[in-house]
């Protein structure tokens, strides 16, 4: 019995497992940064969609429909790669000489100097931005709808008080918009949380990658077979982890909605 406990304590706190626990930070960072950026892009997109200048309105509509028309995975892979290549192309215009261009045999980068090496932190930031871009398109629609559900009387009253257009927008319109937007934004947040499981596609050693490595049959020459294929157990842990995150987020958004709904007529909720 004691041996068992000692084994499990030792097994669950070995170096690889500690790295696994530490890799949760990538997932949490990507979710929080992606969520924040999604709201920012959503606000920008909704403002564009509401614009009186039609080219801006067109840009807003195209943004919110194109990004949602293709799978999130595709955009999630495409954006970091395209951004990297864009930067490398810019570097190439500055750094490459005809000799280095001629010396390069691979298809990309144009020359050896214009190579931008991306590590985990860079990929993590790019992944967060692409999460923000993809789900910002969803948030655009949510916020656009919410802006239109704010009662007209409130805005007219604000204008009657002599507020400028900017003051009406920031103090009344966007302030009151949240109560209508929160249910939709909570959905977007759930989507972002679920999309963070894709980080390993960008070579980030996240929880999914580590679960795969840890669960693979573990053979040590000195001890023999430590365990056979345990991958499904590790994935089960992640499955439960994501369900718990969903549960907690639901509670948190419920509390947030109650708080945002203070002083607003209950018909809004």
């Amino acid at each position: 019995m004691m041996d068992d406990i000692a084994f499990w304590l030792g097994y669950l706190t070995n170096g690889k497992h500690l790295t696994w626990y530490a890799s949760f930070q990538f997932t949490i960072f990507a979710a929080l940064a992606g969520g924040g950026l999604a709201v920012v892009f959503g606000l920008i997109g909704a403002t564009l969609k509401n614009s009186r200048f039609w080219p801006l309105r067109l840009i807003g509509s195209i943004y919110s429909s194109i990004v949602r028309g293709v799978p999130d995975v595709l955009f999630f892979l495409f954006f970091p790669l395209a951004f990297e290549q864009g930067v490398e192309w810019l570097m190439a215009t500055q750094l490459c000489t005809p000799e280095t261009l001629a010396a390069q045999s691979a298809a990309w980068p144009p020359c050896k100097d214009a190579n931008w090496f991306l590590g985990t932190p860079e990929y993590l930031i790019l992944a967060s931005v692409s999460l923000g871009l993809v789900y910002g398109a969803f948030a655009t629609n949510v916020i656009h709808g919410a802006l239109r559900s704010v009662p007209k009387g409130q805005l007219e009253a604000a204008r009657a008080y002599g507020m400028s257009a900017r003051q009406v927008l920031w103090r009344i319109h966007i302030r009151q918009m949240w109560i209508y937007a929160l249910p939709g934004l909570s959905n977007v947040w759930m989507l972002i949380v679920k999309a963070t499981s894709l980080l390993s596609l960008l070579q980030i050693a996240d929880i999914v990658l580590w679960a795969d490595r840890l669960g693979a049959p573990n053979f040590l020459p000195t001890v023999g077979l430590v365990h056979e294929d345990w991958r499904w157990r590790y994935y089960l842990v992640l499955f439960v982890f994501y369900i718990l995150v969903t549960l907690v987020s639901e509670r948190a958004f419920g509390a947030l909605m109650r708080r945002a709904g203070r002083g607003i007529l209950s018909e809004a909720r």
Binding site: V70, L81, A82, A107, W232, Y242, T246
Partner: protein, 244 residues
């Protein structure tokens, strides 16, 4: 331009796999979702709890993890179960596991849509049916189901398009066998060959967009047929809410 056409031809066999995954999982997922939605609405607490838990679990966790979980589970039973039965080539094949997981996933999402529609069926109509002396079965067949499917159809259309988009990650979780590559794997391999991200990924995106539009069109036709008794059809929204 020629390059673009050649690219389109390269992706044509790949889109078949995505369409296969979606087409194979839609019918089964539909049937399973109807039972799950009825189960969630059931008066029996056990059935209701179970359906509710199933729907919550599969809507609350990423499809990517579900793929890995089911595939590794299937792998761990390989030596003890599938091998002796001689069906491991079938059970472990991505063309079987892929639709299996997609069915489990889409059933949960669709069940939630159907459950919402079930709650929205007008009370008065059910009461009228009961007043006519209809049995439970007759009530469902003649009153509840026609209402439910009409209420749920627009949201269900979205779910099917979303399911089609979800097929993009099948081969990121499951092994690629031979030349059986879907759109994403094709795009990724072509990208690794010549590093032209803009061409390959855009063509893959075009294919996804095109098939999504076809799905919208076909499901719109079905919706029109369903709503043919209505004086002025409200019309299918072609830019619906994509949230699920």
């Amino acid at each position: 331009m020629e390059r673009f056409l050649a690219e389109l031809a390269l992706f044509a066999p790949a889109v078949v796999f995505n369409v296969y995954f979606a087409a194979a999982s839609v019918p089964l997922g539909f049937v399973m979702a109807v039972f799950l939605a009825l189960g969630k609405n059931s008066a029996n607490p056990l059935i209701s709890r179970l359906s509710r838990g199933y729907i919550y679990a599969f809507r609350g966790s990423p499809l990517f993890i579900q793929f890995f979980m089911v595939y590794s589970l299937a792998l761990s039973f390989n030596v003890s179960l599938w091998k002796p039965m001689g069906i491991s080539w079938f059970v472990l094949h991505p063309l079987f596991i892929g639709p299996l997981v997609l069915v489990l996933n889409t059933a949960a999402y669709t069940a939630e849509i159907f459950y919402g529609a079930l709650r929205a069926v007008p009370r008065g109509e059910i009461e009228a049916a009961r007043a006519y002396g209809m049995s439970q079965r007759q009530q469902f067949r003649h009153v509840i189901w026609p209402n439910l499917i009409r209420l749920a159809w627009p949201a269900y259309t979205n779910e099917v398009v979303f399911l089609f988009h979800a097929t993009a990650i099948v081969y990121f979780a499951l092994p690629v066998i031979g030349q059986q590559k879907d759109l994403m794997i094709t795009a990724k391999e072509l990208f690794e060959r010549d590093y032209n991200a803009f061409l390959h990924f855009s063509v893959a995106a075009l294919y996804f967009l095109a098939v999504s539009l076809v799905v919208f069109f076909l499901f719109g036709l079905v919706y029109q047929r369903l709503m043919r008794h209505m004086p002025a059809a409200p019309g299918m929204r072609f830019a619906p809410k994509w949230i699920r």
